[in-house]
């Protein structure tokens, strides 16, 4: 247990060579994510949501501001913050089993132990039996399940998901979304989920944070109190769900006054 993710006054400023001036991708963002929360972040194109995620992941440094995770300052990438990538980023030269066990191998766990744990998570994401296959033999949806399993197996304090379902077809996407909520209910990881898909954001999360267009600032935060477990079949007709989606959509599509 810890304080969760605390972001204070975060800014990221680039120097745009073509415009000849400084540009803020992220502008004075402050937010908190409690342990076990599922938070979606979305906004119009260029609102800095991916930049924000990359900063929290430690891939790029902030220009200004402070980020702590369970009391520790963030500096660079690390196994405490697992990342699920839009491009899957599976290691093509490793089997599914070795991919999922990778983080455990980095920790120095012996082979038998890490393979055992890896198999559990492979089963959790519904891929039991595919352990010795290589990523290129799997479909996009299956590959992303491996990506999720790989991060979960490493038991990070925070799980960062960068538009993870944007590269799969619509039907697979819906299946994966339901899978993700099911996994979340079972394990309750802390998740920061970046997307541009409004319906996806509301479907998955407890809380939706909407960013404004560049420079990215928080426009509004909405609680999502829809009951769980969530299924597309039910929510499509649900009035509360539709109202939330409409509200978020209007926020995303209009510019702030």
């Amino acid at each position: 247990m810890g304080d969760g993710l605390i972001i204070r006054d975060l800014s990221k400023v680039y120097y745009d060579v073509y415009a000849g001036q400084h540009v803020a991708a992220v502008d004075r963002v402050s937010l908190q994510i409690a342990t076990g929360e599922f938070v979606s972040i979305l906004g119009p194109s260029g609102c800095g949501k991916t930049t924000l995620l990359n900063i929290v992941a430690g891939f790029i440094p902030p220009t200004h501001g402070e980020i702590t995770l369970n009391g520790r300052r963030i500096q660079g990438p690390g196994p405490d913050r697992g990342v699920v990538f839009q491009s899957f980023a599976l290691f093509p030269w490793k089997t599914v089993l070795d991919n999922v066990a990778f983080g455990l191998k980095m920790r120095g766990m012996p082979r038998d132990d890490r393979d055992r744990i890896a198999r559990e998570y492979i089963a959790l994401v519904g891929l039991a039996g595919s352990e010795s296959r290589f990523p290129h033999e799997l479909s996009g949806g299956m590959q992303q399940r491996v990506g999720v399993a790989r991060v979960l197996a490493n038991d990070p304090e925070l799980m960062l998901m960068d538009e993870p379902f944007a590269s799969v077809d619509a039907q697979t996407r819906m299946t994966l979304q339901e899978e993700l909520t099911r996994i979340w209910e079972a394990r309750q990881p802390t998740i920061l989920f970046v997307t541009h898909d409004v319906e996806e954001a509301v479907f998955l999360a407890n809380r939706v944070i909407v960013l404004s267009a560049r420079p990215g600032r928080i426009r509004e935060t909405l609680q999502v109190d829809l009951p769980r477990p969530r299924a597309w079949r039910d929510l499509v007709e649900d009035a509360a769900y539709k109202a939330l989606v409409a509200r978020v959509l209007s926020l995303v599509r209009t510019t702030p006054s």
């Binding site: 990778f102 980095m106 920790r107």
Partner: protein, 266 residues
Amino acid sequence: MTRAGAVARHLIATPAARTLGPFVPIVAAWAMVVELGVFPRAFFPGPLEVVRAFGDLVYKGILPAYLQDSVTRLAVGAAAGIALGVPFGLLVGLHAASYRFFWPIVIFFQAIGDIAWLPILLIWFGFTLTTMTFVIVYTVIFPVIFNTALGVRTIAPDMVRAAQSLGAGSHRILWEVLVPGALPNIITGLRNGLGYGWRALIAAEIIVGTSGIGFMMFDARRAGSVVEMILGMIVLGILWYVVDAGIVAPLERATIERWGLTKREA
């Protein structure tokens, strides 16, 4: 379908047949040109004479000995070239400052070419194995460097980031991500390097040599024996094919094809 027909059809489909097949009419055409006496026999011998010379030299033990010399030199030179080229390629591919500093120099030295080094090498080392090895290493190393650097620079950044977010340190990232990721290009570099190495070997043997296929070809020239020259060239070509199909291709199959990787280009 007769049994013979089925067997024949099966044989034709094998990769060996597909590669060697085209040469059959060429050899036939060659034989015809020779029979027609288009060129003086002394200058343009026929396939039969070449085969006879082949048998003769094998019998005398000359060809196998020369072959062994040539192949050994190439193997040693290639191994050294790879051992030096891959690490240097990784350095230049990964470290921006190293790239900016070394790249113009690498390109310039490649442009000089292996042969141009021979005069100074002969002054330093004389007509020895050292000279020949230097030339081969020099030739092999450049494609290996270029392709290794290219391979490591074009690895998807997400791959490295994924490893970082799973707790891999720099050392681990190098071995678990960068080297396997660059492997398709490294193998291309190996293939090209071996190709260039062959040519360098022959040139070195011609100029420096005391033994080897290249030497045999040039010695034959002095004796005016065209047959042996042509035989040498054929042996070269065949050997190259054997190396490529017997060493490089299986390597590719065990790694690149198994992992479903493709080569990336600049």
